[in-house]
């Protein structure tokens, strides 16, 4: 249909000047072709047709695009088009390259074909976490740790950077190092090592300011990345999924997992689909059954009461244990158990309470999906309660240390006086020789203590997870496989059989671990590095464990909807871990002799100091006006409002086209019927 037009345009192209009208028409045709090229992918044509139409459109565009510029503008236009094309090609090549660079893609695909997409989604989540932690590590390492090590004062030059004389004898012992005391405590891994010098080195690097800003940007970057991931997930999944209108249709058309490539898994999937259908049929047939509502309500209330008792009990236990550990730390000769009691108790609670909750929940008789939500909510409450109890107990410790500081300051003053007098007696020099850094009495440095606690908690969490996997999955699989030959009942079919991969347990563990990292990274910059190592080894270790000792699930587990649920949980944990850090920054005074903020009344004063000393005067005035609460509160309200509108906008974007299509189809069908 376009042939006559083409001939006419090619004739007029030979002429030097094109009329306005013809130019406009030509431009419209080129735009039309370009649009066709970009939407080619969506058309349900055969490949042959698509290819031929594509080639024709591309040839047309190439031939006449250059002609569209007028006179001198012609060359510029042609040049712009060429650059645009080159840019599109470059972007496509770069995208291809990026896809090839994604690590562990083959490993995850293998897991996916054996275990289905839900188990693989855990590993994809793990890989994403690894990426985020790597970026955070880069920030902290590059902007805080490296400058202090390269340009700051070296080890041994200042009291805060030296192991005290009393501890030097045992500072290299493995047991001391394992507790993160000794040389590790006085290294760049912890807050206490950093000097409060305003600028260091020949670069005049503002380390305290950098430390503060990096601490804040850790949270800022994590927030941005989590929200972006949630928005992307929300775009892909449409309806709530709780839509009960299409249960059987969806079971029929979307229950087969096209990613399964393994016959064993396929067998399991067939079985689970059949079971799923049978269950839905039974549900459908029994939906009119009469139930004893009162008994059910009573049982549910009873179950909730029991669980609240468990939660309170575990909270109290943790508080008690932390208090006890403080008295232990004052004693000499504490055994290994006393030193690690807090971590052991917390890990044990985390391991045994969830199954306990599941057993109690059997009283409630909920639909499995709803029951799962309750279970996850309760585990969340357990971990949160434990963590916050731990923090409260830690706060008591911190306040105690702050009170101790005055005492230490007095001791230091007397000691210096004494040293001064004794050295004046020996020589007649005016200035006394400086006191050896190892001999200066130290303040208690509560920030480093907090950092050490978080690092120890993280390390014990890592160990417990790995040991659980090793024993619970691998040793169990070995036992079932090898002892089966000489055992009375079939170990593989009955108890204990092979383990299934606990997706929700693992994902929750990852999410809470990340929460602890966020909380502790301000006081222990090295913590993120430890986490990066942990995630890296986790990926290999868990992939190996899953392939060697787990069996595919018997029941189907939907992957897509849960993804945003776990992201939402991560967001919540991010806010909850921001709170304690923000509180300590705003209201606790930093230690007087350790860390980058020592000597200040509050940590955030470093910002005021930098603005006053480094920026011109008018900026300081602007900031002082901006810090007015009258401006800040409306700004926060505006932000909250716009954040609320985002999910609404996303939902609107998804529906109009499908609504329209349905209307037109229905109308067409109606017309056919009328005819």
């Amino acid at each position: 249909e376009n042939c006559p037009r083409q001939n006419r345009s090619s004739n007029s192209f030979d002429e030097e000047s094109l009329s306005e009208e013809e130019l406009a028409m030509l431009m419209e045709q080129v735009e039309q072709r370009k649009k066709l090229i970009s939407t080619m992918r969506n058309k349900p044509w055969r490949m042959v047709k698509k290819l031929s139409v594509l080639r024709e459109a591309q040839a047309f565009v190439e031939k006449f695009e250059g002609a569209l510029g007028k006179g001198k503008g012609k060359k510029l236009y042609a040049y712009k088009m060429m650059m645009a094309k080159k840019w599109v090609k470059f972007k496509r090549d770069f995208d291809n390259f990026k896809t090839q660079c994604i690590p562990w893609e083959m490993k995850i695909k293998e897991v996916e074909s054996h275990f289905g997409s839900s188990v693989a989604s855990y590993f994809i989540f793990l890989r994403w976490m690894y990426g985020v932690n790597l970026v955070l590590f880069g920030l902290i390492f590059g902007l805080v740790i490296i400058p202090e090590i390269l340009m700051g004062m070296p080890y041994g030059s200042m009291p805060r950077k030296t192991v005290p004389r009393a501890e030097q004898a045992t500072a290299m012992d493995f047991s001391v190092l394992w507790d993160f005391e000794g040389y590790i405590k006085y290294s760049a891994l912890f807050y206490g090592y950093y000097n409060n010098q305003r600028t260091i080195g020949w670069l005049k690097y503002r380390l305290p300011m950098a430390y503060f800003m990096v601490g804040i940007s850790v949270f800022g970057y994590s927030l941005m990345v989590v929200i972006r991931s949630m928005a992307r997930n929300a775009n892909q999944s449409t309806a709530d999924g709780d839509d009960d209108n299409f249960i059987f249709s969806w079971k029929m058309f979307t229950s087969w997992d096209y990613l399964i490539g393994n016959p064993e898994t396929a067998d399991n999937k067939f079985a689970s689909i059949t079971t799923g259908f049978k269950e839905s049929i039974v549900d459908e047939q029994e939906s009119n059954k009469d139930e004893n509502i009162h008994l059910r309500r009573f049982l549910r209330v009873l179950a909730n009461v029991l669980i609240i008792c468990c939660l309170c009990g575990s909270g109290y236990l943790i508080y008690f244990v932390v208090k006890r550990s403080q008295t232990f730390s004052k004693m000499q000769n504490v055994g290994w158990y006393e030193r690690n009691e807090v971590e052991i108790v917390m890990s044990l609670l985390g391991m045994f309470c969830p199954p306990l909750f599941e057993t109690i929940a059997a009283l409630e008789n909920y639909h499995p999906r709803i029951g799962l939500k309750w279970q996850l909510g309760r585990i969340f409450a357990l971990f949160l309660g434990n963590l916050y109890t731990f923090l409260l107990a830690l706060m008591d410790d911190v306040n105690e240390k702050l009170a101790e500081e005055d005492v230490v300051k007095n001791i230091t003053r007397w000691m210096l006086l004494g040293h001064h007098n004794s050295s004046m007696g020996n020589s007649s020099a005016d200035t006394p020789p400086p006191l050896d850094p190892a001999d200066v009495p130290r303040g208690p440095c509560w920030e480093t203590t907090v950092g050490i606690e978080f690092v120890r908690l993280t390390v014990s969490d890592i160990l417990v997870t790995y040991v659980t996997i090793l024993v619970g999955d691998f040793i169990r699989a070995c036992f079932v496989r090898f002892v089966n030959y000489c055992w009375c009942w079939d170990l593989e079919a009955g108890f204990p059989s092979y383990a299934e991969f606990d997706i929700s347990g693992n994902v929750l563990g990852l999410v809470f671990n990340q929460g602890m990292i966020w909380m502790g990274s301000f006081y222990a910059p090295g913590l993120v590095g430890i986490n990066v190592l942990r995630l890296l080894t986790s990926m290999y270790f868990q992939c190996w464990a899953v392939m060697s000792s787990n069996v595919p699930h018997e029941r189907v587990f939907k992957a897509s909807k849960s993804n945003n649920f776990y992201m939402g949980l991560l967001l919540l944990i991010l806010f909850l871990s921001l709170l304690p850090v923000a509180y300590t920054i705003m209201s606790l005074p930093p230690s007087f002799d350790c860390g980058p903020f020592s000597g200040k009344k509050r940590m955030y004063e470093v910002i005021q100091e930098t603005i006053e000393l480094d920026f011109p005067l008018f900026i300081a005035k602007i900031f002082s006006y901006m810090a007015n609460p009258g401006l800040i509160i409306p700004a926060i309200l505006l932000m909250v409002n716009s954040l609320r509108k985002i999910p609404i906008k996303l939902k609107i974007n998804q529906h109009p086209s499908t609504c329209l299509k349905l209307l037109t189809h229905v109308n067409l069908n109606k017309n056919d019927q009328l005819l």
């Binding site: 992918r41 969506n42 349900p44 055969r46 490949m47 042959v48 290819l51 695909k109 996916e112 074909s113 289905g116 997409s117 892909q236 999944s237 449409t238 309806a239 999924g241 839509d243 209108n245 299409f246 249960i247 059987f248 249709s249 969806w250 029929m252 058309f253 979307t254 229950s255 087969w256 997992d257 096209y258 990613l259 399964i260 490539g261 393994n262 016959p263 898994t265 396929a266 067939f270 689909i273 059949t274 259908f277 049978k278 839905s280 049929i281 459908e284 939907k558 992957a559 897509s560 909807k561 499908t658 299509k661 349905l662 189809h665 229905v666 069908n669 109606k670 019927q673």
Partner: protein, 161 residues
């Protein structure tokens, strides 16, 4: 090109390495449904039939690329819905009628359900999804139902190649 490699290795004697002269080579269904991505899929024959030009199930290279592009992660939802409809329409009459539903269900459960259960499920499906009341699912009904399904894009209509 990776897809060409896969196509070639299924029948190295028949498929030429050089495709610039656009040779007219088709591979029969038996070879294609033995690919690892399709081997375990209960709908493998229908998938290959819907993408084959002659409807018999033999795929030329273009059809082969077509199939993997529709089933990839990048294909838009509307396109996938169109081909999903074709696949589940066993008698190719542009409607998913009760007989098609019964065949789908039998393939999904490997015929482990009783006749009553099958009838019940098929009736429920038609009750849920049939908007225009003709007792079978037209494309509009199917698309309306599948566009709301949370799993349709994630794993229930996709390969990773």
């Amino acid at each position: 090109m990776e897809l060409h490699g896969r196509y070639h290795e299924m029948a190295p004697n028949v498929v030429p390495m050089d495709y610039t002269k656009d040779p007219d080579v088709k591979l029969p269904m038996q070879l294609i449904i033995n690919m690892p991505e399709l081997k375990e899929n209960p709908f493998k024959e229908r998938i290959v039939e819907s993408f084959s030009e002659d409807g018999e199930g033999s795929l030329s290279f273009n059809d082969f690329v077509d199939m993997f592009s529709v089933l990839s992660e990048m294909a838009p939802r509307e396109l996938k819905a169109i081909y999903a409809f074709k696949i589940y329409d066993f008698n190719t009459d542009n409607f998913i009628c009760k007989a098609d539903l019964e065949k789908t269900l039998n393939k999904l459960t490997r015929e482990e359900l009783t006749a009553e259960e099958i009838t019940l499920v098929c009736e429920k499906v038609i009750e849920e999804a049939d908007m225009d009341g003709d007792g079978k699912l037209g494309f509009a009904d199917f698309e309306n139902m599948i566009s709301k399904a949370p799993d349709f894009l994630s794993f229930s209509f996709m390969f990773h190649i």
